[in-house]
């Protein structure tokens, strides 16, 4: 029974990991940029939500309404003012600049909020659960987060493949010069992609802050989870990323079930096994 419970919890946790991963995957798909500071932005969003909830006295879930557009705005400005300058044939500048950003965000958060762990309280919903046949209880909050994660993935999928914005993303990703020739400003399109990425990060950060305690140093760990979900699922495949997140979540929970010290290790090992057996991920995009 414990095992089944661990697996179910792992699946629900996987939704959160997919949220960590989706924004990462999106910007890589559009501009071949890997944002090393991605995890730190998740933590930044969590802290912003913390400040918002204490300042306004609202439920952290309500804070989403503020945090998501704020993060999107940060993403757009960051891309236009800094990251666009790093894009080119050389992979070093974007990598090192986002690495520098990661250090800046971590230490700025440390300066402002100190190293103490924080947590947000979403109220009674945190303890509510649904009894399912077989004597299991599924928490309402984890379930809600999972449903939101699936909805976000579906939404991103729709934007990317069905909307005008998605067409622009794909066109610029395919051929930057030619996209300019039909009137697309790539700097703006890249800005929108980063805005969308950080909007998802906003959701992920709020959820993270409700689910677990957080402190300024945990960003890189979230980046790694997101990255592992992307690689397990297969580059460029959003639904694959969701499954990658689930595999990661389940592996971690099974590991923890065996020995609490093995939780993270089990997730990393699952990732390394996939990398060894199917280096392009379980569901690579067919181009």
């Amino acid at each position: 029974m414990d095992w089944i419970n661990a697996i179910i919890q792992g699946i629900l946790l996987g939704g959160l990991y997919a949220l960590f991963a989706a924004g990462l995957s999106l910007i890589f798909g559009v501009m071949r940029l890997v944002n090393i500071a991605h995890g730190d932005f998740i933590v930044l969003a969590a802290f912003l939500a913390l400040s918002t909830t204490t300042l306004l006295g609202i439920n952290p879930l309500m804070a989403l309404v503020i945090i998501v557009p704020v993060m999107a705005g940060i993403g757009y400005v960051l891309q236009r003012s800094v990251l666009n300058q790093t894009l080119g044939d050389d992979i070093l500048p974007p990598l090192l600049v986002t690495f520098g950003l990661s250090i800046i965000i971590q230490n700025a958060l440390l300066e402002i909020y100190s190293a103490d762990p924080q947590k947000m309280n979403a109220g009674p919903i945190e303890t509510a659960s649904i009894a399912v046949p077989g004597g299991l209880n599924i928490g309402v909050l984890p379930l809600l987060m999972f449903v939101v994660a699936v909805a976000v993935i579906a939404g991103l999928q729709w934007i990317f493949y069905r909307s005008a914005l998605g067409r622009a993303f794909r066109a610029v990703s395919d051929k930057q010069d030619i996209a300019q020739l039909i009137g697309l400003n790539k700097a703006h399109v890249f800005g929108l992609a980063m805005a969308l990425s950080l909007a998802v990060v906003g959701i992920a950060g709020v959820f993270l802050g409700i689910r677990t305690s957080f402190d300024p140093s945990i960003g890189p760990g979230r980046l790694i989870f997101g990255f592992e979900a992307v690689i397990i699922g297969g580059l460029g495949n959003l639904w694959g990323t969701l499954i990658g997140g689930i595999i990661l979540g389940v592996s971690q929970n099974i590991g923890a079930q065996i020995n609490p010290g093995w939780q993270l290790l089990a997730g990393h090992i699952a990732f390394l096994i996939v990398l060894a057996v199917k280096p392009r991920g379980l569901f690579p995009r067919i181009d």
């Binding site: 890589f28 071949r32 940029l33 890997v34 090393i36 800094v82 300058q85 790093t86 044939d89 050389d90 992979i91 070093l92 500048p93 974007p94 990598l95 090192l96 600049v97 690495f99 520098g100 950003l101 990661s102 250090i103 800046i104 971590q106 230490n107 700025a108 440390l110 300066e111 890189p220 760990g221 980046l223 790694i224 990255f227 592992e228 690689i231 580059l235 010290g261 093995w262 993270l264 290790l265 990393h268 090992i269 990732f271 390394l272 990398l275 060894a276 280096p279």
Partner: protein, 340 residues
């Protein structure tokens, strides 16, 4: 002036002057136990070890196109191997240091086979995962203190040398020797066929996503050598600290962020860059370290600004302006009549 008076040369006046100056500097530094204080020697050792880490990271990122943010995996691994070999195999630390390097190179083989499947930036994060796996794994080894770590037993430390000042001189010389060894190995490696191939690869396929077996092999060799030397350096670092824990051994800030900062500031893809960078880094640290987190904030900002405004770093600016090179790597056509 006949055509036969032209030769192909790597050295220049600047590089020969630098060589003479370098040898003098080396002699002076080797004599430090006779002229420097205890604190100065500790600082110098730390500088040498950071120089060695920076040169190795630069070899990977600046020459082989392997941008790693997980070199702390090998620093920590080397440190832990030193402790394990000294505590359980009864080896003297002096013998354990090269052995830790060898083991680091060995473990790098399967690691490389795995993570070479990732390209570019994803390779970078892959190296980070490996470092995390190492950290979490060593945290599980209770014989080495698990998550809280362990200290090197006093007996082992005392057996290194007859008295404290001799011991300090020994670790100092080891650190200096490590930096020199790393510089020499990298210099020879870059002048070898392998190095020429690397430069060709770097210059032609920076963003390439697919490379052939030959390129794979060149990169593999560099990765394994860098891992071995990084592990040896790690062993030395923790021989100086006398205490090791997973968080300290596999710290991304200490062993990768600072190292990247040094290389970026100094000039990536040049041998001189890390030397300049390490000097700048320690000057900043000695003057600003009291600021704590603000100091790290400044480091991050400086690194970003340099990357955006002067991607070749301080040395790149000097080289572009004066065209000098201290380590003669590029070949030049020299008119003998003018030279003599």
């Amino acid at each position: 002036m006949s055509s036969s008076s032209y030769t192909i040369s790597r050295s220049s006046r600047a590089s020969r002057l630098a060589a003479i100056f370098g040898i003098l500097l080396l002699v002076a530094l080797a004599a430090a136990p006779w002229w420097a204080g205890r604190a100065d020697m500790r600082l110098l050792s730390e500088i040498f070890l950071y120089l060695s880490l920076a040169c190795l990271w630069n070899l990977l990122a600046g020459y082989a196109g392997l941008v790693s943010v997980g070199q702390q995996a090998f620093v920590g691994f080397g440190g832990y191997m030193l402790f394990a070999l000294a505590m359980f195999a009864g080896l003297s630390p002096l013998a354990a240091i090269p052995l830790a390097g060898l083991l680091g190179a060995l473990i790098a083989v399967p690691v490389a086979v795995l993570i070479f499947r990732l390209r570019g930036a994803y390779f970078a994060i892959g190296t980070w995962v490996i470092a995390e796996v190492f950290r979490l794994s060593f945290a599980q080894v209770s014989a080495l203190g698990g998550g809280s770590g362990t200290s090197l037993p006093v007996g082992i430390v005392k057996a290194m040398a007859s008295n404290r000042s001799m011991r300090e001189a020994t670790t100092y010389w080891l650190a200096l020797g490590m930096a020199v060894l790393v510089l020499v190995v990298i210099y020879l490696l870059l002048r070898s066929r392998n190095g020429l191939a690397l430069t060709a690869i770097r210059d032609s396929e920076l963003a390439s996503t697919n490379y052939g077996i030959d390129i794979w092999r060149h990169k593999f060799v560099v990765y394994v050598i860098a891992a071995g030397l990084t592990a040896s350096t790690g062993a030395l670092i923790f021989l100086q600290k006398l205490r090791i824990s997973p968080d300290a051994a596999f710290s991304v800030n200490d062993w990768t962020a600072f190292v990247i900062f040094i290389v970026v500031i100094g000039g990536i893809g040049t041998l001189e860059g890390p030397i300049i960078g390490v000097i700048v880094f320690f000057l900043l640290r000695e003057t600003l370290a009291d600021l704590g987190t603000t100091y790290l904030l400044i480091l991050g900002l400086v690194a970003i600004v340099v990357m955006l405004k002067a991607p070749k770093g301080i040395w790149g600016l000097i080289k572009a302006r004066y065209g000098i090179e201290l380590f003669p790597l590029s070949r030049r056509v020299v008119d003998r009549d003018l030279e003599n």
